[in-house]
Amino acid sequence: MKSTGSFISTQRACSRRTFLRASGVALALPLLEAMRPAFSRAANAAPVPRRMLGICNNLGLLPEKFFPAATGRDYALSPYLEMLAEHRQDFTVFSGVAHPDVDGGHPADNCFLTAAPHPGSGGFRNTISLDQFAAQQIGHLTRFPSLTLGVNVSQGQRSLSWTGGGVLIPCEDKASEVFKKLFLRGTPEEVAAQVRKLELGRSIMDAVAEQTRSLQRDLGARDRERLDQYFTGVRDLEERMDAAKEWEHKPKPVVSAEMPKDPADPREYMEKVRLMYDMARLAFETDSSRAITLMLDSVNSPTLADIEGTHLTDGYHSLSHHGKSAGKLSQLEAIDREHMKLLGQLFAGLKAVTEGSDPLLDRTMILYGSNLGNANTHVTSNLPVLFAGGGFKHGQHLGFDTERNYPLPNLFVSMLQRMGLAADRFATSTGTMRGLEMR
């Protein structure tokens, strides 16, 4: 299964070791639980597709330029949010939010979508991320249960997507690879190999199902019911294997966009971000996936290429430790503003496309934020968080207590519910996001 990039996967039950092996049923089978059932029962239950994109910039944004002063609906846009003025009614900005007990400075980025406490401490194990949690339920509805993307990612060290077992799902760092995966068909040999593996999995499950049936025969009602559930689990998995096989034969969507050219130099960070936003948009447009994460590994980025007239002299990470130096602050601000600009373009792109009766943005939740409240001091409280699209009543600044922060996982619960999932908690949530309502 060489053709399946590692970034496309969800809820993989197997360990990273299993994943790395390139032969046998090992690769194919763990993916199957997320594949689409042949007759797509769930699709009928949720007629409006909902999607999510989670973005973490692990150096954050200058808080004094990002957070608006006033709260509520009539708040005045902050300098950074001014750049998103035309989308004002399409996003909500939060302040005074954090992940409870997620500390430890830089390593906290891996917990941005998991909210697992104490990423820096010994014995830490991450937990399932928001996208994987959603993909576990709705991943089978699309060709790719989820996409895990990154920019300048320190491979194997950083990712926003984590399996239920707390295993890192590697990020795809090349936009061209994402494009190929989404829109180019694999070679006949690759398809045939994949189909054979699926058929092998199917025959394993057939044997299991058969034994389950034979055991059921002479049991009492209560025990039979337990085995019935077992049988159903086996059959459901078989259905998903069949659906996965179907995807192998189905042609991939055709798009007019051209294959992106990956910048070779990590200094072209901003261009890479732009391309990844494009890939996410294309994936949503073609309903190829509904759960995407994007780790912007700014910590791992060098001195960036100049941005519109601002000459950058220091590494991104180094700039973030600005120590209030005016020279560094102005460079950092130029970078931050470029981030806002690209985000605005992404919003505009998703608004320009309609699906059914809605602009695509109304069906797509975009969470943009950071694990650091202030990179200068490495604090993991008062996180900058911006939340757009998805059909919520936006256009407000929800300000919470900056001393005792409000739990950000509550937003995740709201997002899951918007996806149509019956989730009432996620990680350390205490409810849904206070003040955020669906339209």
């Binding site: 299993t18 032969s23 092998l200 394993i204 009492g220 337990r226 990470h317």
Partner: protein, 878 residues
Amino acid sequence: MFRSPKRFAVLCLLMGAAAARAEVPAGMQPFLEDRCMQCHDADTKKGGLDLDVLGFDLKDAKTFAAWVKVHDRTAEHEMPPKKKPQPKPEEADAFLKALAAPLTAADRERAAREGRSSWRRLNRYEYENTLRDLLEAPWLEVRVMLPEDGEAFRFNKVGEALDVSHVQMARYLGAADYALREVMARQVAKPETKVTRCYAREQKAFAGKAKFSEFNRSAERATFPMLDNAADIPALEGIAPMTVGVADAEKREREAFGVVASSYEPIELKFSSFRAPSAGRYKLRFSAYSFWAAPESEKAWWKPDRKNLSAGRTREPVSIYASTPPHLLRKLGAFDVTPEPGMRELDVWLLADETIQPDAARLFRSRPGNPGGWHNPLAERDGQPGVAFRWMEVEGPIIAQWPTAGQRLLFGDLPMKENGKTVEAVPNDPHADAARLLKTFLDRAYRQPVADADVQRFLAVIEGAMKSGSSFTEAMVAGYSAVLCSPGFVCREERPGALDDFALAARLAYFLWNSPPDEPLRAAAARGELRKPQVLRAQTDRLLADPRSHRFVNAFLDYWLDLRRAEATSPDATLYPDYYLDDLLVESSVEETQSFFAELVKANLPGSNLVASDFAMLNERLAAHYGLPVNTKITDHSGESDGSAEKSAPHPIVEGVAIQRVKLPPDSVRGGLMTQASVLKVTANGTTTSPVLRGAWIMERIIGKPPPPQPASVPNIDPDTRGATTIREQLAKHRSEESCALCHTKIDPAGFALESFDVLGGWRDRYRAVGEGEKVPGFGKNGNAFVFHLAQPVDASGTLPGGGDFKNIRELKQLLLKDERQIARNLAKQLLVFATGAPVRFGDRPELEQILDHASANHYAVRTLIHEVVQSGLFQNK
């Protein structure tokens, strides 16, 4: 019969109700009429109980539970309420007998028909242990690959809660495939056992932190190049290379890197030049010692001077973790280092590609936030302690036999050949070999004799795979995967009535090992001997003596006492900076409770020890936490500690990181489970404690009198961390309402006594609060100055519901000790749920009392209780 026309009218409307009443056995009617109906009729329905419509259909679970409640409230003299006329004892007895008989009969009838427990799959602990034992691969990490198990009656052992979905099935498939491939040979020749030495000076993680950079200019966050006890100034200043290397073996041996900080972002030590080439057994040896760093200056005495180092003065615990990127850490063990550079060895199992991370666990972890930078809490006017590492030596993988047991189980003695990066088995006759190997595998994997139909079923998978082009090896893996996903493997097969020998063997092994039966146990089952009491007793002792019994102890405590949640919350950085980031304390606290229970089993100590014991299982960190004498400074001693458990009374000094049995001073507040740090941690939230939550937990888990669930309409009390009011004052208003008091008098008392202990079980006389107030000088483990203040004093007094006042935790324990049978009853109940997968129901009570009767002469000693559970009908029938 009906006292008022109104009631009569109501009942006539509810014709069904009249019929329902009529179902109740005649022997119970007079008591109900005289003592119950006044409040519990269709009209008043006090407490939601309406005896007019309840009926007596004991097959209905709700009806059954309601009558059990009627029975118990009456038996406990809670009903009728004290203010109403009380029934004569013989009147109540007659009623209780009349009620108990049909309840017991109904329960037993159901148990005979369907068994007490339901058919169930293995939980994820059991599945992991089963694969580890079957494939003889103790390193397999399967548990985390499976979804979290549902729990019922507090355990992950009950069929009704162990669901199966397509997600579960897919995970089994992934886990089975992972485990099988993990034990398959990766090369034909036996891998060489190598001895590799990794010098600290040559490790990137050490050397990279020796020089200051734009991200760090603090010595606390840097490594210290050292030569013996002195600073290696040429190396520090970059004049000399970081190591002399092979050119000067003698000097190379003396080179080291020191730290004054514990491993934490941004300084994490790692011997990354070693990565485990394959999963397996390894020996790790470390050369390390403690040192002393002089102050940078008289003014900034809490900062270390990297150029001014000398011999160590302290004994320092070092934890060793195995690490998988990005930050997956498994603790492998711990040892102490002293000023003498000794060699410490750990015998461990590693996963392929793991690297080794040492952590000098007592040292501080600098976090930003303190005005003026961090301040090492361990610093003294004349310097601070540090730990220096010379090298790590690895021996491994240590392979006892080749091909490995796992490879032999899967492929017998078939020759192997390398095929690209994989190794394939070469069959003589693929069909005959497949059938033979599969049969052997099934015999080992299944815990009961294998039906021929099953062999054929899985053989078809293998044959089909070969036909469609899979290699022999891949086809076998597919067949084995099917076996490991099949209910015959994944489920515990128990049939109503007395368990057959194989099911009994499985029940015993999954009870005392949380693992499948081993060969001797299966052999006893096959001989049909297991049901003989003396054979069963001998097997029970054998299993308990085996190291695998730790799996029972740990899994049992993970659920009974919620130990699996020990790391779920963490001490608040503002209120408890002295515990915040103290991994060693939390790890030790879990070990304490595990060792404590294991000791009760091993030494067969009375069950009352669960409430109060005259000893504790401690290491130095815990002893310090509990205010017992410790001595970290060892400059005055010879520098040697033998770690012996025999400490001279009356003031034993606990030394070192290893858990030891320690005799407690007679006036100690410790001893027993309730005052162990782990229990006090899992019953708090890291910031505040609540007598209600702790009280309810203790009543249910330790005392075995679970309080009724919290009414949905009543919100939790939000404790005030500003220090103005205590939780007790906040509760007082609530408790003064009669309807609330009814439950709270039962829930809160133990919680009140435990208010003397903070969120991590440290003793307190006064609460800590944020904001203004009496400050406490000091610095946290994070190097930040304390900003909390001491607020209201703690009042730990209370009254037990049955009477009995106590002023503090010690008096509470004495009161609880009066009923040692109740403490034992609760433990036996918990063991029975864990062992049988079903709760102790009404009809099981007589047998439970019998278990207790048999153990009473021995003061309900814990191992005796386990024996009596195993010998009981509850255990030996489904």
